[in-house]
């Protein structure tokens, strides 16, 4: 058996955890993943960790043990988890390690992320004008997309309704209460057309995975999950990204989108197509992002989301189960952990041991997509 496999998955519940540091959540997840694989830290050949704001992941060796292994730290915004995983897979593929641990964690305080214009190469005028707001970007992109593809804004509430229904059933999710679409649509407007319940919140949590080279995987795990592809792409000219004083005409048509590119690369590397996917995770920073990303990744046609979501097709028992653990909407977004949460959920679904709603019919092909500023996406294909 060649290739790279996930042989262990662990997670610290997402939410807000007073008195628990981000690093401690990372440690918890890492120990859980090692236990899941039946391994100890001393069996690990190399590690990759990511955190946006909650400390240096490589200092986890002080908690797990100073075994002398290489430990790579990544910090790639919302795509941190995806980049960490791709880096770990490359270590195995390159023959540098047989067993690699991947960990991501973060602990964010409440409220939307603030940003400094200078960090994005912008003058102070941009913030003065009131434009330096991430939620504005998501709302403007969503409105344009709905307009362009003739979609009713109702789809935004329906996507969130499904997310909270899945979160309610998942013991590690943050938002554990189902919400009817009507209540979601009528809630306070954050940035029209997106209401309070259509945005995820900065959150807290940790996730870890243990990867193994193919010839070791079957011995370590009863049902190893093949990481058939892990691809990262940055934007090209013409994409529609946050904090842009100007855009090219046609922005948002998918030209230049890192999500389009990363998904296509992942499917090509795995030798499967979007039509083969049995279960998916797509970045749902907000309801509109999910709607857009379903099409950008190729999982459905542009404009077909209303029918797909409205008919229950993305429910855990639908034709294309999406974000079965509640996604970012129900879990919040501890940035370093978020992309790995997606993989954690899909791995457990493919193994038939989902913590929440289990997808029926033994799914065999999983897909994950994480996206972040300023135009960076990471996609995986997972198979059993």
């Amino acid at each position: 058996m060649t290739g790279v496999f996930v042989v262990g998955a662990g997670m610290h519940a997402f939410g807000r955890h007073e008195g628990v540091s981000g690093m401690a959540m990372g440690e918890h997840a890492l120990r859980a993943a090692l236990a899941d694989a039946g391994l100890t830290w001393s069996d690990v050949d190399a590690a990759v960790g990511g955190s946006n704001v909650s400390g240096k992941p490589d200092t986890l060796v002080a908690r797990l043990g100073p075994t002398g292994i290489p430990f790579v730290t990544v910090r790639n915004g919302c795509a941190t988890g995806g980049v960490a995983l791709a880096t770990a897979a490359d270590m195995i593929a390159a023959g540098r390690a047989e067993i690699v641990a991947v960990v991501g964690f973060d602990k964010h305080e409440r409220g939307a992320f603030g940003s400094d214009p200078a960090a994005y190469g912008l003058g102070p005028w941009y913030a003065e004008a009131g434009l330096m707001v991430t939620t504005q970007f998501f709302a403007m992109k969503t409105r344009r997309y709905l307009h362009q593809h003739g979609l009713d804004p109702e789809v935004l509430a329906l996507a969130a309704e499904r997310a909270f229904a899945n979160g309610a059933a998942h013991p590690l999710a943050w938002r554990r209460k189902a919400l009817p679409a009507k209540e979601i649509g009528a809630a306070d407007m954050v940035n029209d057309p997106l209401t309070r319940y259509m945005f995820c919140s900065p959150g807290q949590g940790g996730v870890a995975l243990v990867l193994a080279r193919g010839d070791r995987a079957a011995d370590l795990c009863e049902r190893p999950v093949r990481l058939a592809a892990a691809e990262v792409r940055t934007r090209r000219a013409g994409s529609f990204e946050v904090f842009a004083p100007s855009l090219a005409p046609g922005a948002g048509d998918g030209a230049g989108s890192p999500s389009v590119a990363a998904a296509a690369a992942a499917f090509a590397a795995a030798g499967v197509g979007p039509g083969d996917v049995d279960i998916a995770q797509v970045q749902d920073t907000d309801s509109g992002s999910e709607v857009i990303h379903l099409a950008e990744t190729g999982l459905c046609a542009h404009g077909a989301q209303a029918e797909l979501i409205g008919s229950g097709g993305t429910r855990h028992d639908g034709a294309l189960p999406v974000n079965t653990d509640g996604g970012c909407l129900a879990n919040g977004e501890p940035i370093g952990a978020s992309g790995l949460r997606q993989v954690h959920e899909v791995v457990r679904q493919l193994q038939g041991r989902a913590a929440g709603h289990q997808v029926p019919g033994r799914p065999r092909v999983g897909f994950t997509h994480v996206y972040g500023a300023p135009g960076l996406s990471a996609c995986t294909v997972l198979t059993v």
């Binding site: 330096m132 407007m189 029209d192 057309p193």
Partner: protein
Amino acid sequence: MATPAHQAGRPTADRTGEATADRAGPPADDRPLADPSLFARRDPPALRGSRCTRCAAVTFPAAARCPACCVGDTTEVELPDTGTVWTWTVQSFPPKPPYRVPDSGFEPFPVGYVELGEVLVEGRFTGPVAIGDRVRLRLVDPGTGRLVHGFAAVRP
């Protein structure tokens, strides 16, 4: 289909706090520009963009090196002062610093992108708009006493 909540989230022109800047308008207005480099001229206002000599992309603000292809040099261009609304939202809550809440208190304000010839430019609107509306460039005061570019609907 807009729900009542969608409607409620749209401020009226009276609530945006920018009507004063519109009425006052240059040349009587002596408030400084937040960043003069954004403008080709002030009265009547026009934005200063740049066009790539290699890939022809038009971008705003003007940049010496083309931000689209990152290879070509650029020449300055004055952007058209009227265009159509490409997308919009309403900023319903006060942004975090370095944004400063006006002394008069925060009022929601609409923002979006306007198709100005060969480029989409982001800015504030002086009142409610819809995609496809014709708008014209205006100087607006976001509450700091320093003027930035914005757009007002062109009434037929």
